[in-house]
Every structure is written in structure tokens, then in C-alpha cells.
Amino acid sequence: MRTLFASLTALLFVVGAWGCGEQEQVVVYKQGKYQGKPDGRPWDNAPLAEVFRGGNWKQGDRTSWEEQIKNRQLAQHEYKRIGQ
């Protein structure tokens, strides 16, 4: 019984001491490497509703998203847009 009590006391002491310990609270920088949060990829989002002219691509499909963006890019070319 005494051994168990001693063990629990020791465990409590260790846990208490660990709780008072200092945690690393800063980002550890590595030279030349991006350290920030990861960013999502645009094609992983679903297209907006048609009323917002969000276009039409398949969620997660990069090729279809690039096709959508390419169509928007070519819309900047008024020679093509209004015909020859």
C-alpha cells in the first residue's frame, strides 16, 4: 500500500512538474524554407452558382479548372470576343 502511495505521489509530482514546464511557443525558422500555414488549391473548390458567373469545372480536377481560367483569359482578347 505504501509503495502504491509513493508511486502515485511520484507520478503526481512528475505530472505537476511537467505542467509547469515551458512549451515551445514560437515558430522555429529554417533558413530558406516557407514556414507558414499550407494553402489550398483553387481547383479543390466547387464552382460558384451560375448566378455569380462562377463558371463550370469539376471540383478537384485541375485540367477543367485551367480550362475555365483559360476561357476567362481569352475573354480579355476583344478581337476574338467580338469576332473578326
Partner: protein
């Protein structure tokens, strides 16, 4: 792989500042921060005035990224240079390094305290969940995630400012310049910005009697 770039046609830009306004409105950019601005050469010199809209050019080998002491910059798969505002310490090194003056620093507080860097994101948001409130508040709209191009380019009334994949917009620009029929002068500094006149001054204002 797409490499997102801006291209401004100086023969078309009429200095209307529509791109600046569109950017401000779309991203709710705070007062004192200009992610985009229009620069005019030979201002007031008749026949020699040329304007160009300038923002972050999303360099392939970005100097801001090279000098950042906390490495808060990253490049997306589309070649857009973005940064994490949670990491930025607002030191201003990127401002010194950037040849275009793209990094901006909001003034906060009574003593002009310099805030975290803000710059053009190519309307691609930042490292927060796409199209979220947090992303909009920190970085502005994520139009690429909506299948759209930057608001400045899509709003441009004369289509002087083109935005998108470098190959595609270069083809558009080339097509335009060829149609202008300038022969051997089809490309280059002189065509883009005009010969100008060294030391040219704007005309003196006419005095009304």
C-alpha cells in the same frame, strides 16, 4: 503549368485608375494601402505621355522571397507569390528588395506603427481556408478559387491590363501589336513607352486674363 502574370499595354492605358478602384473595392483594402497604382511617364507632355498599371509582378525568382528573414513567402502551383501574415513581422525588407514597390505597410496607431505587409495576391487569397471569412479579412477575395481572374484585369475598360497565364496573355498582346502594323518596331521599349524626351517638362499652365 500556368504562370500567372500581369501585362499592361501602355498604348491602351488611359490612366483612369479603374484597376486601382477595382482592387480596392474587391479586396476591401484599407486606407493608405495601394496594392495597385498607375504610374505615368512624361506626365503632361503632349504626345509623350504613357501610363502603366503596376502591382506585384509575381516574379519567378522573387527578391522579396529571397530576403524575407522569417520566410513567410511561398509560391502557388500557378506561380502566384503569396505570404503568410501570421508569420510576417513587418520588417520592410521586402519593400527594399522589390523593384516595383509592391509591398505595402498599413499605418496603425497614433505614431505611425508599421503593420504587417500587404500586397497584391493576384486575387488568390492566402494561407487560410479558401473563400473563408478569415481569408477575406487578411488577404482579400480569392477569385482564382471562384474560377475568375483578378478584378483589376477583368475590370479594365480598355483591356490595357491583362492578367492570366503568361503564355496566353503574351499571345494576346503579340496579336494586338502585330495588328498595329509597326513593322520592325513591333516590339520593344520604344513601342511600349515611346521615345520620350530626356528632361522633358510638362507645359506651363496657361494664364487666364
Amino acid at each position: 503549368m500556368a504562370r500567372m502574370k500581369f501585362l499592361c499595354d501602355a498604348e491602351r492605358c488611359i490612366e483612369c485608375n479603374g484597376c486601382v478602384t477595382a482592387c480596392k473595392n474587391e479586396n476591401e483594402v484599407p486606407w493608405g494601402v495601394n496594392r495597385r497604382r498607375v504610374v505615368t511617364l512624361n506626365d503632361g507632355v503632349i504626345g509623350a505621355e504613357k501610363s502603366i498599371s503596376v502591382a506585384c509582378m509575381h516574379c519567378s525568382d522573387a527578391p522579396c522571397m529571397a530576403v524575407c528573414p522569417v520566410d513567410c513567402f511561398y509560391r502557388t502551383d500557378d506561380g502566384v507569390v503569396l505570404h503568410d501574415k501570421d508569420l510576417c513581422i513587418g520588417c520592410g525588407y521586402c519593400f527594399y528588395a522589390c523593384p516595383f514597390g509592391a509591398p505595402q505597410f498599413p499605418q496603425a496607431g497614433a505614431f505611425g506603427l508599421r503593420g504587417k505587409m500587404d500586397k497584391c495576391t493576384f486575387c488568390a487569397g492566402g494561407p487560410e481556408p479558401d473563400r473563408s471569412e478569415a481569408e477575406f479579412r487578411k488577404y482579400g477575395r480569392n477569385r482564382l478559387a471562384e474560377g475568375k481572374l483578378p478584378a483589376c484585369a477583368e475590370m479594365c475598360s480598355t483591356k490595357a491590363l491583362l492578367g492570366g497565364d503568361g503564355d496566353v496573355i503574351a499571345d494576346i498582346y503579340r496579336d494586338r501589336v502585330v495588328r498595329r502594323g509597326k513593322g520592325s518596331e513591333v516590339w520593344g521599349w520604344g513601342t511600349a513607352y515611346g521615345p520620350g524626351r530626356p528632361g522633358a517638362q510638362p507645359p506651363a499652365p496657361v494664364k487666364k486674363s
